[in-house]
C-alpha cells in the first residue's frame, strides 16, 4: 500500500494502519538518529519520539508537498538537534543544504532496488548479507546482532565493514 493511502486510512480513524509506516521506516530512522547522536539508545528514543510527533501532526501532513519519509526524517533531525542542544553539545552543520541533503532518505528506482537486493543476497559468506538485512532493513542493533551470532559488537562492526566493502565492489 502506498504512503498516501496509508495516511488517508489513519486519518479516517484506523490508527493501526500507522504500524505500516513505523514498520517501513523505523530501521532507517533509527540509524539516522544513531548517526547524529552517536548513541544507539538515544537514537531509538528519538526515532520513537519522532514517530509519535508525526502521528499527532498527521493532519498537517500534505503528501503533495513531501513524502512521509522526508517529513519524518526532518522531524527526527530537529529532535536530535534539540537533544544535542539540551545536552550542551556543540551542534554544528556546515550549511543548510548539506544538512538537508544528508537527512533525506534515498529514493531509488525499482530496477536498482532489485539489483541491490540481489547483490546483498549474493554476498559471501551469507552471514554478511544477513547482517546487512538485519541492521539496515530490520532495525536490529549491533548489540542484538552480537547476541544472535554469539560474538562481540566489535566483531559485528568488522563484519559489517567487510560486507559493505564487498557490496560496493559488486556494484562498481
Amino acid at each position: 500500500m502506498n504512503e498516501e493511502k496509508i495516511v488517508t486510512q489513519i486519518l479516517k480513524g484506523d490508527t493501526d494502519a500507522y504500524r505500516l509506516l513505523v514498520d517501513r521506516y523505523q530501521a532507517g530512522l533509527i540509524i539516522h538518529c544513531e548517526n547524529i547522536l552517536k548513541d544507539r539508545e538515544d537514537g531509538e528514543d528519538i526515532a520513537q519520539e519522532a514517530f509519535i510527533k508525526a502521528f499527532r501532526s498527521l493532519s498537517n501532513f500534505s503528501a503533495e508537498k513531501a513524502k512521509f519519509s522526508t517529513w519524518i526524517y526532518r522531524i527526527a533531525t530537529n529532535l536530535c538537534i534539540d537533544l544535542l542542544r539540551k545536552n550542551k553539545s556543540k551542534v554544528v552543520v556546515d550549511d543548510i543544504q548539506s544538512h538537508m541533503e544528508a537527512m533525506q532518505p534515498s529514493h531509488i528506482d525499482e530496477e536498482e532496488k532489485q539489483f541491490l537486493q540481489k547483490m546483498i543476497n549474493e554476498l559471501e559468506p551469507p552471514k554478511y548479507g544477513e547482517l546487512i538485512k538485519a541492521y539496515f532493513w530490520e532495525g536490529k542493533s549491533y548489540k542484538e546482532l552480537a547476541a544472535t551470532y554469539g560474538t562481540s559488537t566489535n566483531t559485528i562492526g568488522t563484519w559489517m565493514s567487510r560486507a559493505k566493502v564487498q557490496l560496493k565492489e559488486k556494484l562498481s
Binding site: 493501526d16 513505523v22 540509524i31 509519535i52 545536552n87 544528508a102 538485512k133
Partner: protein, 309 residues
C-alpha cells in the same frame, strides 16, 4: 511542515548519513518486516496518549543551596519547631496518599513574565508530578491554543495522565511488549492500553461508548464492562454510577492475542501474525479537570525553560 533548524554555530558537519547506507536502506523489499518490539512500543505510546520527553531535566542548584544556607543559620528552637511541623505535615500527607491510588499531582507557578524573545513564560515554584521531573519553567509557544494562566492546569493534567498510566502498569498484569527470545515459537501476549475520551457518549448496564478524539480522527470505542471493571474518581475506587456520561475519562483496556510465526520463519528473518485481540475493559478513570487541559496540543504549546547552570 517541520523545517530543519539551522544550528547556532557553523563549522564541521556532524550528521551526514553515508550515501551508500541510505541506498541500502532504500533497497528494503516491500513487505519486509522490522522489529515488532519498536513498532509495539510506538503504538503503545500513541494509544496511551503519552507525550515523550526523553530529555533529562536539571535541578535549580542555586535555589537549593540558598535555602540550605538560610536553614543552617536559624536559631535551634526554630529548627526544632520546623522539624515538628514538617513531621506533622508529612505524616498527614502520607496518610492521605495512602488512601489514594496515586499521588495527587500539584503544580504551582510564578507570576508570568515576558521572555527576551517576547513570549510569556512562567517558573515552577512547586510541583508534585509522580516520578516525572519537570523543567524549571515553561514558555508559551507562538499561536498556542491556551493562555498563560492555563499553564498550571495543563502541567497538572500531564502529571495526572502519567500517574494514571504508571498506576495502571503496576496494577494490571500485562507483558512488556517485548518479543520472547525464542522468536520462532508461538506465544501469548497481553498488552495494556490507556486511552483518553473527551467524554462517555452513552452507557447502559454493560456497554460503554467512549467518544473518540474527533480532532485526531479517532472513532468512538464501544466496550463491554465486566464485574471486574473498576471505576475511579479523585484517585479512589467509586461505584460505576459515580462516573456520568459527560465526564472526561481515561479508559484502560487489557488486550490478549496469540502470536504465531509465519511460514518460512528462520532465526534471522521472521515475520509474525497475530490473532484479533480480545479486549477487556479493566478500568474507567474520571479525569479531575476539563478535557481541554489533557489535549496533546495544549501540552505541545509549552516549551521547556531550563534552569541556568
Amino acid at each position: 511542515m517541520d523545517e530543519p533548524r539551522k544550528s547556532a554555530a557553523q563549522g564541521e558537519v556532524v550528521m551526514k548519513l553515508d550515501k551508500f547506507d541510505r541506498k541500502i536502506i532504500a533497497a528494503r523489499p516491500d513487505g519486509y518486516h522490522s522489529s515488532t518490539r519498536f513498532t509495539d512500543a510506538v503504538m503503545a505510546k500513541i494509544r496511551n496518549g503519552e507525550i515523550l520527553s526523553s530529555s533529562v531535566r536539571n535541578m535549580n542548584v542555586t535555589k537549593k543551596e540558598t535555602f540550605m544556607m538560610k536553614f543552617k543559620h536559624l536559631p535551634t528552637f526554630a529548627i526544632i519547631a520546623i522539624i515538628i511541623a514538617s513531621t506533622l505535615v508529612v505524616s498527614g500527607g502520607a496518610y492521605a496518599a495512602y488512601q489514594l491510588l496515586w499521588p495527587k499531582p500539584e503544580v504551582r507557578l510564578s507570576e508570568p513574565k515576558t521572555s527576551a524573545s517576547g513570549r510569556k513564560e512562567v517558573t515552577i515554584s512547586f510541583a508534585q508530578c509522580g516520578k516525572q521531573s519537570l523543567a524549571s519553567g515553561y514558555e508559551l509557544k507562538k499561536n498556542a491554543p491556551i493562555t498563560i494562566d492555563e499553564v498550571p492546569m495543563v502541567v497538572k493534567a500531564h502529571c495526572e495522565l502519567d500517574a494514571i498510566s504508571t498506576w495502571a502498569n503496576k496494577e494490571f498484569p500485562h507483558d512488556d511488549g517485548h518479543q520472547p527470545p525464542e522468536m520462532m515459537k508461538a506465544f501469548d501476549r497481553t498488552m495494556l492500553w490507556t486511552s483518553m475520551a473527551t467524554h462517555i457518549k452513552s452507557r447502559n448496564d454493560s456497554t460503554l461508548t467512549f467518544a473518540g478524539l474527533t480532532k485526531y480522527h479517532q472513532a468512538d470505542t464501544v466496550l463491554e464492562a465486566t464485574s471486574k471493571t473498576r471505576y475511579i474518581a479523585d484517585g479512589h475506587d467509586v461505584a460505576a454510577s459515580a462516573i456520568t456520561a459527560d465526564d472526561p475519562v481515561v479508559y484502560i483496556t487489557s488486550e490478549f492475542s496469540h502470536i504465531t510465526p509465519d511460514a518460512g520463519c528462520n532465526a534471522m528473518h521472521c515475520s509474525m501474525s497475530s490473532t484479533p485481540a480480545v479486549k477487556t475493559l479493566v478500568a474507567v478513570v474520571k479525569l479531575s479537570q476539563p478535557f481541554q487541559y489533557y489535549d496533546q496540543l495544549a501540552w505541545q504549546s509549552l516549551a521547556e525553560r531550563m534552569a541556568c547552570m
